[in-house]
Amino acid sequence: MSAGLLYYLSGLAILLGINLIAIWGLDLQFGLAGINNFAYVVFQAAGGYAAALVALKPASAYGSFETYVGGFNLPFPLPLIAATLTGALLAVPIGLIAMRRLRADYQAMAMLVLSLIATGVASAQTGLVNGPTGLALIPRPLTGTLAVSPLGYNWIFLGLTAVCCALSWWVARGISRSPFGRLLRAVRESESAVAALGRNPDMLRMRVLIAGGALAGLSGGLLVEYVTAWGPASWLYPETFLFFTALIVGGKGNLAGGALGALLVPIVIIEATRHLPAFGYPGLIDSLDWVVIGACLLVFLWFRPNGLLPERKRVLSRPGDEPAGRSVRAAVAAWRAGPR
């Protein structure tokens, strides 16, 4: 394997990891709790901006190349922590909007509009995050202290991403398997019944928005630190639907489905098509990618809305009644009793 190929593959693996975190985050909100968060990409963007603004030096250090707020030039891992926290905190105002007793599609539209307002403001307010051009020259973690080749650095970043993935997997799995996760699914099924049983559905939804938002923020922070540039064009509203398509294709309500979706949609569709022999004008393939994504979404919504790996039924056996347990227990008891 040539170094070039390894470099490419390691980069792809990093992107897969980042998408895994983002998709698992959305799965908590949408797959588990049934929140139609059409503004999900804003959580990722906020995390990305937080990491950037914390890692960058103050704007003046770059001449008048870019203007933005913040610029604290803090070292790893503070930008990533800032990213995660920002994603989590953003859940509060967005959650208050999502809590409205709106019909599902209205609510979806409201979230979509929020996403548009966010990109609009980021572009319009040039002093905030350098307007439509976006931020660049974002420092990568630990570049100063490590003297490695680009390929070597990629492996290190991949290691970092893998650790973050493992963390996210642990969080998502923990929530999914817990009584809290069961409550979230109950809220998804019937909010009124949950309230009739003494729980506040709004608080439950707020909590999962925070948890999912934290994961989204983390993924944004990693992405920004890897790509070193971040502008409104990177987080337009269709990106949210990239994640939704991944969940609908791969299967929501379970981590394996999310992982499959992360592999198939952002990686296979987007990345694989990058390597087709270039035809048409530059950028044609990018547009066609989105047509394919829209088509996949439609096809799966029609034929297999639960995805390739649907949420599995959680079977609970009677405690002390496991067939295997019974036979082992019976065998041990019989052995202890000795020959008659």
Binding site: Y106, A110, A124, S287, W290, V291, G294, A295
Partner: protein, 295 residues
């Protein structure tokens, strides 16, 4: 003083443009109960179709007719055939929203693939202009206002003076009432998709001509402002959409003048969020909370 007049007059022009599209959107929602998030892409596609079929500099009336026809047909296909199929299968509000999003992605990026992300320009034909107290309006803008008024009149007549219009109003109030008007529910819905699509296409063409250029994102950008006007006035209520368009037209023009031009759209979108948060039923309408989706 000229500033105030300018805001007022361009506000009315904006309102006129918005009204055509917003009334189409809200009329279709009222009858079919589908929140059509692909409406913006129908708008874009209509402009492209008109441009592709009739070219750069055409008679404005021909352009409008072609645009309206393209919009009507596309709307019928998307709404009645595709979305309708999902509804007949039992899809609900959120599922339908996802379907319309998927369709809009395919249409918008399909158009982008065909044309490229470049902006297409309409060659400006010689404009006669009109000067009102120091504010200059082009003939295209004047035509837009005139056409908007005519379109609103036509919609008004359709709703009040025809049996089909009665059926549409009845369906908007209560889907089960359609049959009592003697018009089949399917026919009512088909007409709703056609009319809303025609208004959408008409709006698109006038928007393209007014801006002088368009691209594959024109429709989706404008759609939220259209939705804002519709929701503000009371979604499902055509007269509400007209009122909403007027308010947003003037307010966004004022925001552009006072804050900055890029805030024109942000102002409109903020109004939409505020309405959804504070009074989702809008100014005029009863909130369509638990209505069934009708195919």
């Amino acid at each position: 003083m000229t500033l105030l007049l300018s805001v007022l007059i361009f506000g009315i022009y904006s309102a006129a443009l918005l009204a055509i599209g917003a009334v189409g959107f809200t009329l279709q929602f009222g009858v079919t109960n589908v929140l059509n998030l692909a409406y913006g892409s129908i708008l874009t596609a209509s402009i492209f179709a008109e441009y592709g079929l009739t070219g750069h500099s055409t008679n404005i009336w021909v352009a409008m007719a072609v645009g309206a026809a393209a919009g009507a047909l596309l709307s019928l296909f998307i709404g009645h055939v595709v979305v309708g199929a999902f509804i007949r299968r039992g899809a609900t509000g959120f599922g339908i929203a996802m379907v319309t999003i998927a369709i809009s992605l395919m249409v918008q990026f399909g158009l982008e693939a065909i044309q490229g992300p470049d902006i297409l320009a309409y060659t400006a034909s010689t404009h006669t202009t009109m000067n009102i107290g120091g504010v200059v309006l082009s003939s295209g803008q004047l035509t837009t206002i005139v056409v908007a008024v005519l379109a609103m009149l036509a919609v008004h007549l359709l709703l009040r003076a025809t049996r089909l219009g009665l059926a549409m109003r009845a369906t908007a109030a209560d889907a089960s009432l359609t049959r009592t008007c003697g018009v089949s529910p399917v026919r009512t819905r088909v007409v709703a998709w056609l009319v809303s699509g025609a208004l959408c296409g008409l709006c698109g063409v006038l928007l393209g001509l007014g801006e002088g250029s368009f691209s594959s994102t024109t429709g989706s950008d404008f759609f939220i402002t259209l939705a804002a006007a519709a929701v503000l006035g009371g979604i499902g209520q055509p007269y509400g959409a007209m009122l909403g368009a007027l308010i947003i037209g003037i307010v966004s023009q004022a925001a552009a003048a006072v804050i900055s031009p890029s805030y024109k759209t942000i102002a409109a979108w903020t109004i939409l969020i505020a309405v959804l948060l504070l009074r989702p039923q809008g100014i005029l309408a009863e909130y369509a909370a638990g209505r069934e989706l009708v195919a």
